[in-house]
Amino acid sequence: MNRLLYIFILSLVALFPADAFASEAEQGGSGVDAKEIIFEHLGDGYGWEVPFNHHVRIPLPVIVNGSDGWHVFSSAHLQHGEAYTDGSATFVIGGEDSDYKGKVVEIVNGQEVRPFDISITKNVCALFITVALVFGLMMWLASFYRRNGMKAPRRGLGAIEALLTFVYDGVIKSILGPDGRRFAPYLLTVFFLIFFMNILGLIVVFPGGANLTGNVAVTLTLATLTFLVTNVLATKHYWLEMFWPDVPVWLKFPLFPIMQLIEVFGMFTKPAALTVRLFANMMGGHMIVLVLTLLIFIFSGLFGAGVGAGTTVISMAFSIFMLLLDCLVSFIQAYVFTMLSTIFISLAQVHGHHEPQAAH
């Protein structure tokens, strides 16, 4: 009975995007703009889509600093391209031909000016939900330990603990050694935040559906934090080895400036690699699922409903496969980000040759 219920819910979820796009395709009449739909779903927005209706959105607060100070208002005022005047400033969401397409702009003397915008967009809201979720889960685990001592939790908490020990024992302690305890709070926070952002991104409806880790702003921030942790807490020997390595002076001579340049360059390529890896993997996963779903409408537009129906079966099979794969990728990418961060931190925890080596 339970299994039947699962199958029913899953098929509803699988059908949902098909339904939403189908209604749009009927209204549009002339095929589908695949690129537009894909980027709309991958991108950010001032409202949150609701299932089965493409026009109603859950309104979210817009926070902008316009020409005359701060403005906070609901994004419901800006729906369907309407302009909203708050005090003396008028705001509108940039249209198709605007330089700031899809962003809130202020109309100043007939010109569109982009204000300082820290709105709670769909992505920011999803981020807050994820943060609350991670905080709740970790507090739950901590309180379980406080109440039950060293007893191992079961079921849901057991899974959280399994993830935690997998990363803590398998990555942090084994790479950083005794330094592990010092960096574990940062690395574990990063791991769980990325993991739950990835997983929530795969859920189609409300608390999920935001393509957070597939957004370069998020991964860039995380990579920058790793960069800061790595370099701010680096040991003296790390800087010494970078700028004045322990080799004879005559050997340093010809290539010395180039080597320093390469070292400094390497400092910045590491976070860049972190940024792009997570961003590209998650965005790629989302994009493939979207494209597979859109194939149904593209084919039915081109060859008629019969072909579209045939494509539905194949597309859904591939989409489900891709989503299952994305569940795995969600974990792997969070794991890889944490592992690479740990390695970068450990590379900066260089101790002198006479001191005991803590890492490597």
Binding site: F39, L42, G43, D44, G102, K103, F116, D117, I118, S119, I120, T121, N123, V124, L127, F128, V131, V134, F135, M138, M139, L141, A142, Y145, R146, G149, M150, A152, E161, L164, T165, Y168, D169, R181, A184, P185, Y186, L188, T189, L193, G214, N215, V216, A217, V218, L220, T221, L222, L225, M283
Partner: protein
């Protein structure tokens, strides 16, 4: 193409949200969780070490018990051998004692026999000499009708006795 150009608002909120989450968890959650996880790992390590030591001790105890049993067996066989030896020694001793006793009996018997022989000899001799004297007295009675003959005979007899002794 906002996907590839980071949006400031999201960067700002991401930074703020992460900082808040990190500080909260750093203060409230991680110390307790990490302490428990670490101490449990220690406990498990210690448990494994303890089990290994216990197994070692058990193996040692087993070897020790085997040693004790072997020792007992050895002592047992020693005792059996010793008792065998004692038994045979006792038998031997008894035998030799019996032999000695028999020898002594024999010797005593021999001495007695010799004595009896001697006594018999004496008796026989005295009997013979009595008989001889009787015979001689008779013969002498017959012959000694005259004095000369008597004295001659006495001399002859005396000579004989002298030569005999």
């Amino acid at each position: 193409m906002e996907l590839f150009t980071p949006d400031f608002g999201l960067v700002f909120w991401m930074f703020v949200a992460f900082a808040v989450l990190f500080l909260l968890l750093w203060k409230l959650a991680w110390p307790g969780i990490l302490k428990t996880v670490d101490s449990r790992a220690d406990l498990i390590d210690k448990g494994v070490e303890y089990a290994q030591r216990a197994k070692e001790q058990l193996d040692n105890a087993r070897a020790e018990a085997k040693g004790i049993i072997d020792e007992a067996r050895r002592q047992q066989s020693d005792m059996i051998r010793e008792s065998e030896r004692l038994k045979s020694q006792l038998v031997e001793q008894a035998r030799s004692e019996a032999k000695d006793a028999a020898q002594r009996e024999l010797d005593a018997a021999k001495v007695q026999i010799a004595q009896q022989q001697k006594e018999a000899e004496h008796k026989f001799r005295s009997l013979v000499s009595e008989l001889a004297l009787d015979i001689a007295a008779k013969v002498v009675e017959d012959k000694m009708k005259d004095n000369s003959a008597q004295s001659e005979l006495v001399n002859q007899l005396l000579d004989k006795i002298e030569s005999k002794n």
